[in-house]
């Protein structure tokens, strides 16, 4: 276990210490007094590497990350898990905009609310299925251009009359699936999105993911499952197939 006091440490130095330590075999890190340092875990490899982060990390945490686990014991900022390939990020608080942009694999669990443009262009491929579970609500453009993977939005502790998701939900969606715990009005969604009830296959897929999420975040699984989910799916894998005059 390597403990790093990040107070006043420039992000570039901090990340270099972590990279060098991982290269020389260190597996566990405890970062304290983190205060906005960017790019933590970027491009980092090693599925057995675990980093505990105390304090609010800066933008682009876990970008291009390829294996490690990051646990944030507070809120996080924008662009977490940008183009992430593998690994896991758990955020015990709120997180900002543009989470999981182009994310191809791994898991991102957020306890509370997230901002705008979250889960844009997530994509699945062969054994890679990126999973993002948000405990609270999401802003506009949630799951825009979604091409693969699983997005789950739980809306826990949401104030009355606060919509669980913003507008333009799943606009341009052409792959993957979203599970939303609450009602979604079709006007919120892009024209490419269909809304249906969950079937047995959906429950089979969702159940272990939510159990893992509850274990990590500390929510009660049965309580979460006691409310109704809807499933959002792409009506076509080729929404723009007939756009051109050949």
């Amino acid at each position: 276990m390597m403990k790093i006091d990040a107070r006043g440490v420039y992000y570039r130095n901090l990340n270099k210490i972590i990279r060098d330590a991982v290269a020389s075999g260190e597996k566990e890190f405890d970062l304290i007094n983190i205060n906005g340092q960017r790019y933590i875990g970027d491009g980092l490899q090693g599925s057995d590497v675990k980093i505990d982060i105390h304090g609010v990390p800066g933008n682009d945490m876990a970008a291009f990350m390829d294996g490690p686990t990051l646990i944030v014991h507070s809120n996080a900022q924008d662009d977490v898990s940008n183009t992430m390939n593998a690994g896991k990020v758990v955020i015990h608080g709120h997180a900002g905009d543009v989470l999981g942009y182009g994310m191809r694999g791994g898991k991102l669990f957020v306890k509370d609310d997230v901002g705008f443009r979250v889960g844009i262009h997530m994509k699945g491929y062969m054994d890679k299925v990126p999973v993002m579970i948000i405990g609270g609500t999401a802003g506009n453009f949630f799951g825009e251009y979604m091409a693969g993977g699983v997005l789950v939005l739980l809306g826990i502790n949401r104030k009355k009359d606060t919509p669980i998701a913003g507008d333009y939900l799943g606009t341009g969606m052409h792959g993957g699936v979203m599970y939303i715990r609450g009602e979604i009005d079709p006007y919120q969604c892009g024209a490419e999105v269909g809304i249906v009830d969950l079937n047995d296959d959906d429950r089979k897929m969702l159940s272990p993911l939510l159990k893992e999420y509850c274990d990590d975040i500390g929510f009660n699984y049965n309580e979460i499952m006691s409310e109704k989910f809807v499933k959002l799916y792409p009506k076509s894998s080729r929404p723009y197939g007939k756009l051109y005059a050949y």
Binding site: D60, G102, Y145, G175, Y244, Y246
Partner: protein, 508 residues
């Protein structure tokens, strides 16, 4: 043919003129045309053509063993009208029939001024001697990347060494790189030829946004990997594979719009390389949704630098648009090591015709404006400039370097080097020359060994010509002509154009 389609055989663009006396019914032309233009009629033992299907690619003409085919323009003309040219009329017919957006390939074919043809180079006469490049050394080597503001040296035990830490550089033996052309838009044979020619010539090729095929990782030291809005095929191994990373913001042929590789082109290998399921559309959003500002761009530049431990220069490619100079300034300040600017004539595998032909500005003006702006702001050394979009020959290139480019990207000339006839039908995926197609039957027409040789030859020939220009100007290092606008003169240009280009008129 769609319902209500007003296209008729009589409105075709080309005529396949076949000399039936020389035709031996061998049917080579039938097999060579992927559009089904040439048809063998067994009952009559005769080969005929459906002219409406001909794209003017000349493949059948080139392959006919008896030379009996000539592809000609259809001379049948609509009544002449200054506003309504045949192409405009036919486009309306096509859209009335389909309701679709017009698509095309290659770069803008409108007759906007080509400034290269209005710029002349200088040479030495009497007062300073020219140099003969055949017998004297000529330096074309070019370093691309951030240069320090000052250099510090230190002396240790009588040895002087550089104290300043230099940013990572690309070392080009010639100031010409191959433009981004993605695997998927072009096939693997062409990608391989580009990679091998870049290796043989001491320069670089660019993967484009389609990922890097596993067989091409071995050419990594001559590879620039691109990160575009779709992030296709982008993972840690990909970022590590090349020697530089390019963030694609825009492309000269389609500024401001996204990309769309249709599902038909996403076969097994393209699927593997782009890391998306077979048969799905590969949609590249118009913007990077993590970049809505210069500050956001800086963030992605540094995320990439962090992910690759500051070992590679990061390039940012934009289309040449009206405000290119200010944008380039922002890009440099955001930490880019290279700024690539793609002019309105830059090529594409597929773009909406109206966008291709009407959006962006010529590279000559954008390049001059960007170079001047970065000089005025005192930050020109902080990034190299790669100019792109419409270079046809070595003289265009040396003029671009004199206008301020460190190097140029070439795409269309590379395709022409392996047979492309600029028929502009790349988007059909049926390229008869085996370049912009993934159909194995067509793709094998491009032999990567021969392609490598053709591309290497082209670079060698252009490098020789650039040396000739330099010798004539009495210059023996490409650095001495870079941004040296004093060696350029304009002809038939307005005061305003001369001012933007930063050059004098001929005679001055």
């Amino acid at each position: 043919m769609a319902v209500g389609d007003l296209k008729s055989n009589n409105y075709c663009d080309f005529i396949v003129d076949r000399d039936q006396e020389r035709c031996i019914q061998c049917q080579v032309c039938v097999r060579q045309c992927p559009y089904g233009t040439n048809i063998y009629k067994e009952a009559d033992n005769i080969v005929v053509s459906d002219f409406s299907l001909c794209t003017g690619c000349h493949r059948c003409e080139a392959m006919c063993p008896t030379g009996c085919i000539t592809i000609r323009r259809n001379t049948s003309e609509f009544r002449e009208h200054f506003n309504w040219k045949a192409a405009d009329i036919k486009n309306v017919y096509k859209q009335a029939a389909t309701g679709g957006v017009l698509l095309t390939g290659i770069g803008c074919d409108k007759d906007y001024p080509i400034y290269w043809d209005h710029i002349l180079l200088d040479a030495c006469q009497v007062t300073n001697p020219s140099i003969d490049p055949l017998r004297e050394p000529m330096e074309l080597r070019t370093f691309l990347g951030r240069k320090p503001d000052t250099l510090e040296f230190e002396e240790k035990a009588g040895k002087i060494s550089l104290k300043t830490e230099l940013a990572p550089q690309l070392v080009c033996e010639i100031p010409i790189l191959f433009s981004a052309m993605s695997y998927g838009a072009v096939n693997l044979n062409f990608c391989e030829a580009l990679a091998r020619a870049a290796e043989a010539s001491g320069t670089y090729y660019n993967t484009g946004e389609g990922g890097l095929h596993r067989t091409l990782f071995k050419y990594g030291k001559n590879t620039i990997v691109q990160v575009a809005s779709g992030r296709f095929g982008v993972d840690k191994a990909y970022l590590d594979a090349g020697v530089a990373i390019e963030i694609k913001i825009g492309q000269g042929a389609k500024p401001g719009i996204g990309g769309h590789l249709p599902g038909e082109k996403v076969g097994k290998e393209v699927s593997l390389t782009r890391m998306i399921p077979i048969g799905t559309d590969a949609l590249s959003p118009a913007p990077h949704h993590d970049i809505y500002s210069i500050e956001d761009l800086r963030q992605l530049i540094y995320a990439l630098k962090e992910a690759t431990d500051y070992t590679k220069p990061v390039s940012v490619k934009i289309s040449a648009v009206h405000n290119a100079a200010a944008i380039a300034s922002g890009i440099v300040r955001a930490g880019a090591d290279i700024v690539a600017i793609d002019g309105v004539r830059g090529g594409t595998g597929a773009a909406p015709t109206m966008i291709r032909d009407n959006v962006g500005i010529p590279i000559e003006l954008a390049l001059a404006a960007v170079d001047q702006r970065l000089r005025d702001e005192g930050i020109r050394n902080q990034a190299s400039i790669i100019a792109a979009g419409g270079f046809r020959n070595s003289s265009d290139i040396i003029k671009a370097i004199a206008l301020g480019a460190d190097a140029v990207y070439i795409g269309t000339p590379a395709m022409i080097a392996v047979g492309c006839t600029v028929c502009q039908k790349c988007y059909t995926g049926k390229c008869p020359w085996g370049i912009t197609t993934n159909d194995p039957y067509l793709a094998k027409r491009l032999n990567p060994d021969i392609g490598t040789e053709q591309l290497t030859n082209l670079l060698k020939a252009w490098a020789r010509e650039i040396k000739e220009f330099m010798g004539a100007m009495g210059i023996n290092a490409i650095e001495s002509i870079r941004g040296n606008r004093e060696r350029l003169r304009g002809v038939n240009l307005s005061e305003r154009e001369l001012k933007i280009l930063g050059i004098k008129h001929a005679g001055e």
